[in-house]
Structure formats: structure tokens, C-alpha cells
Symmetry: C2
Subunit: 311 residues, 2 copies
């Protein structure tokens, strides 16, 4: 059965400052174009989400790959996941360093290993075996990430702030897609939260929390307060609602409301059904998002935004 191909992108649900707003919005639009080109020429959903997320990782405005924030030790530790909805194949990495495109490494875990999640040095060693180049960490570091870390260090000496209360947290990027064969996929990537504890893993690389894809239903990718997302297995919950008949939009809204009620956490979801319906919702101040479906680019960043451009 032929499906209508669609790709959806998010660039992280958080209180994005005005100075980063336009470049974040443009960044997700660009990633949607890159991913959709692959779908448009008959490529797979997995190839499309990987290419889209690599595009976001390479864009320094986003907290993933180049542009990742620094942990409490002043180091970059990145997490990523990819899932193929056709056979529920899955690959994730957490706490990897010195890798330009963690989503690409996650795909290697999915396709070239017997495991689904590799962390830390073991993941970096696997990268070397797979011929993935290690890059000098400073090539991933942006002035923005450095400044944020320096402010944290300065601020920390004055007040012992609660991690939960901080609003400067960056977040995940992600993509979901359905290809013309009805195959679905999701991918996420993140540098985590500034000054996180070394070894901290959020929701992004966790199956069912940061993302989930199942061709029988669709695919979802999440962003926001990682610990809240994990507690409610947000992506898996969203897909369950879709399986029970909700549209991707209704399921995204309902599962974010449930998360707010149950664990007082905010975030965002992008979702696609196996027949090409799209859902986008967030409960944070901002979330850059974009999707391409039926020759139209849809996008936004503030609540209520919905720009449409004919392609």
C-alpha cells in the first residue's frame, strides 16, 4: 500500500531566547527539506530521519552534535537514538564524546551490533571500530554553549540552584517520518542540559521515552524535561493513544496534558501516523517545528504559529 510521505522536525521545547528564535525556526525548516528530499525520491523513513537529524546536529544553534551544551565538568556528552518502525529495530547511544553525528553512531548500533544501547567509552570504542571519525571536542563547542556554562559556574558560586528550577536548559532535536511504503521511523539527538551531572542520561536515547516508531501505528519524538518524559514513557504513551484511534495531533495533546497533570512536566511532541497524518504540540514557551506533506512546508515556533508555504 502506498502512503503519503511526510517528515516532521522539532528543535527542542524550551524557553528559547529571542536572539535564537529566527535561526532555530530556519534550522528546522532546512532539516525538513533535507529529510523530505530523501522521501521524495523514494527513500526510506530511516534514511530521512537520520539525514534530518544530522542536519540539526551540524547546525550550531541546536543543542545536539555541534552546539551541544557542557556538563558540570565542562565536557560535552551526547545522547541519540534511531528506531525503524518496520521491525522495531533500535539503536541508541548515551554519554558519547568526540563524535560529530551521534545519530549516525546510533544507526550503526542498530544495524551493526547485537545490542540496542551502548554508553560512554564502550560506545566511543564501537564508533572507532565502525570507522566513525573522532573529532576534537572543541570543534563541537560553540561560543553560546561556553557562555552558558560560564554563567552557570559564576551563578553556582552565589546560589545553590535547583536543577529543576532552571529555565536556561536546552534540549533535544528530533524527527519522525513516514515513507511512501508506509514505513515509519524516529530519531533524536541531544547534548542534554547545561551543567548536567557527568553520566546523566535524559529521555532522548530511551526507547518509549524520547521516541518510538511502529509501522502498525506511526512514530513519535519527544522533547522537554527529560526526567518527566521518562517517568511517563511519553512517546510510547502517545503511540498507544494513536493505536486506540486518536489522530497524531489529538494524541500529542492528550499525552502532554497527562504528563503535566501527573508529574508537572512540560515538553513537546511531534508525531506521524503510518498513513501520513501529522501532529505537533508543545506546552513550553517555544518549540521550533516544521513538517512537509503534500507539497506544503508547515512550520512555527511560538504557540499558535502555523506558517504554510507551497513548495
Amino acid at each position: 500500500m502506498k502512503s503519503i510521505p511526510a517528515i516532521v522536525i522539532h528543535g527542542g521545547a524550551w524557553a528559547i531566547p529571542d536572539r535564537m528564535s529566527q535561526s532555530s525556526h530556519q534550522g528546522v525548516i532546512q532539516a525538513a527539506r533535507v529529510g523530505f528530499q530523501i522521501l521524495d525520491r523514494g527513500g526510506s523513513a530511516v534514511d530521512a530521519v537520520e539525514a534530518a537529524v544530522m542536519c540539526l546536529e551540524d547546525d550550531p544553534v541546536f543543542d545536539a552534535g555541534t552546539g551541544s551544551v557542557l556538563n558540570a565538568d565542562g565536557q560535552i556528552e551526547m545522547d541519540a537514538m534511531i528506531m525503524n518502525g518496520s521491525g522495531l529495530e533500535l539503536g541508541s547511544v548515551a554519554c558519547v564524546k568526540d563524535i560529530k553525528n551521534p545519530v549516525n553512531l546510533a544507526r550503526k548500533v542498530m544495524e551493526e551490533s547485537d545490542h540496542t544501547l551502548l554508553v560512554g567509552e564502550g560506545a566511543n570504542d564501537f564508533a572507532s571500530e565502525q570507522g566513525i571519525q573522532r573529532v576534537p571536542p572543541e570543534t563541537l563547542l560553540t561560543a553560546e554553549a561556553k557562555k552558558e556554562y560560564d554563567e552557570y559556574v559564576k551563578f553556582k558560586t552565589a546560589v545553590n540552584i535547583s536543577f529543576r528550577a532552571r529555565s536556561d536548559a536546552h534540549d533535544t532535536v528530533g524527527s519522525v517520518a513516514v515513507d511512501s511504503n508506509g514505513n515509519t521511523a524516529c530519531a533524536t539527538s541531544t547534548g542534554g542540559i547545561t551543567a548536567k551531572r557527568p553520566g546523566r542520561v535524559g529521555d532522548s536515547p530511551l526507547v518509549g521515552s524520547g521516541g518510538y516508531a511502529d509501522d502498525h501505528v506511526g512514530a513519535a519524538s519527544t522533547t522537554g524535561h527529560g526526567e518527566s518524559i521518562s517517568k511517563v514513557c511519553l512517546a510510547h504513551s502517545c503511540l498507544h493513544l494513536m493505536q486506540e484511534g486518536d489522530s497524531p495531533q489529538a494524541a500529542a495533546e492528550s499525552s502532554l496534558i497527562s504528563m503535566q497533570r501527573r508529574v508537572q512536566g512540560n515538553g513537546g511532541i511531534i508525531a506521524v501516523s503510518h498513513n501520513g497524518q501529522v501532529g505537533v504540540h508543545f506546552t513550553t514557551e517555544r518549540m521550533p517545528w516544521a513538517y512537509i506533506s503534500q507539497n506544503e512546508m508547515h512550520s512555527g515556533i511560538n504557540p499558535g504559529d502555523h506558517f504554510i508555504e507551497k513548495l
Copy 2:
């Protein structure tokens, strides 16, 4: 509302050899007693599952804590999780070394950190901050684990065996409980699979895969082929069926059948509902299990076993 307290234990779903069968069966019975003592005097479900899993970790017959198997580098790397169903509080650790009781460290993550999952050196550093003693790794190593590793090394030189095809894999221990206040909890702990790649994380510490607890429904803990369990978010799927009205037993059976059909994986589940109903099922050769409810100890290890002892 007062509930009927119950605790359920499993000692790993795999092809347990005859020589370990009796001690595994006795081990889960002992852990059920330890955990139920806490429930019986009005203690919490979280305290009960933590105490039960610590008991399993300290029993060298099980692949968790003392008795953990060795990874491909000949080292012990352990994973654990604990979840409190009342507020969905959650703590997990992965790839930790030199810790006698990883479930205890997972509980510290849940209660003393802003995070839900810490891995590798970062988790070990957190353990030191929390005053959890590091133990010499050789104190966790058993002759059985060493022998299995040596056989793997010898065998590996002859045939490049597939990880998936191996039947000597050990697995997780776990516990679920409901206390007299209707609060639920789950806990898991594992040394993983002999000769696993360093940095490999299976399902055990992953929320929704290795375990899930939600007082609105109940709690589940899973065991078996970790990569399969992760692909279907087995614990979260089991709880979803319970939420839709299935008994814990029916939900455990249905979700294991679904996993077999979708990703050809085998495993086991223990589950409890918030009102004290119990479910136990496995699709592997053996799984030692035990539960205490209404003054009866129930247990078994082979398919069809169901021993009952009045307490």
C-alpha cells in the same frame, strides 16, 4: 483505601541448568520472605522491592550484584532500576562497577539526585558522594561467572558465534510489590549477559522496558532477551493492558505473546495490580519465581509449576 499487600519476585528467565535450579528456586523464595516482612509490618512497597532485590543481589546464584557475569573485557558492569508508582519517581544506573548493591544506588538516584538515569563513571562518582562503599570487584565475582567467561573466550576462538544465538545468557532479577496503602513499586538488577560489549545496556534499567510502576494501575518487572524487551517496551505494554481491564496474569501472558510475534523474543514478566492481584508468566525454558499474598507462599521454576505453602 487499604489494599492486600503482595510481593512478587523473579530470578531471571533463561535456560537455567539443572545444577542451579534448586538454589535459584530457594533464592526467590527467600527474597519474597525478606520483602514481605517489610510489607507485613506496614512498610512501603519501595522499601520491600529494594530489600528483596538486595537479597537477590547478595545471593551468588543470581546474575546481579555478587554473581554478576563478566563482559567481553572480563569486567563486571551492572545495571539496576527502582520506581515508585505513587508519583512515578524513578532512579536507574547502568554500567556501574565496584558496587555491592546497585539497586540501592538506583534508589539514591531516585531520591537524592535531580536525574533519573546515571551511567558509568558518573554513576560511580555519585555513589561515592552518597557514601556508598566501593567494593573490590573480585568480591562480586563467582567461580560460575568466571568459568562461563573462560568458556566463552575458548569458544570464541573457534567460532565467531552470534550473540543472539547463545543460550548461556544469564539475566535480570526483579521484584514488584503493592503495600497496604495501595502503593506499588518495582525494582530490577542485573549483571547483563556474559561477554557483552563493554558499555552495553539492556532493558533492565530502562523505564517502561525493564519495569514500570503506577499506583493507578500496578507494577511490572520483566526479564529475558533485553534487546527484544526494549523494542516493545514490555513493562509499559503490560501495564497498558492492565489499565484496559486485563488481570495481571492475562496482561503478562498477552504482552509476552505479542513480543514473540513481533520481534521473536522470549522472556518473563511478574506483575501486581494496585489491589493486590498477581501475574507471573514466562516463555523461556525456566524462570524462578515466588510471591507472597494472603498468608501463602506461591512459587515455581519450570513451566506449569505452582507450589503453594501456607505461612
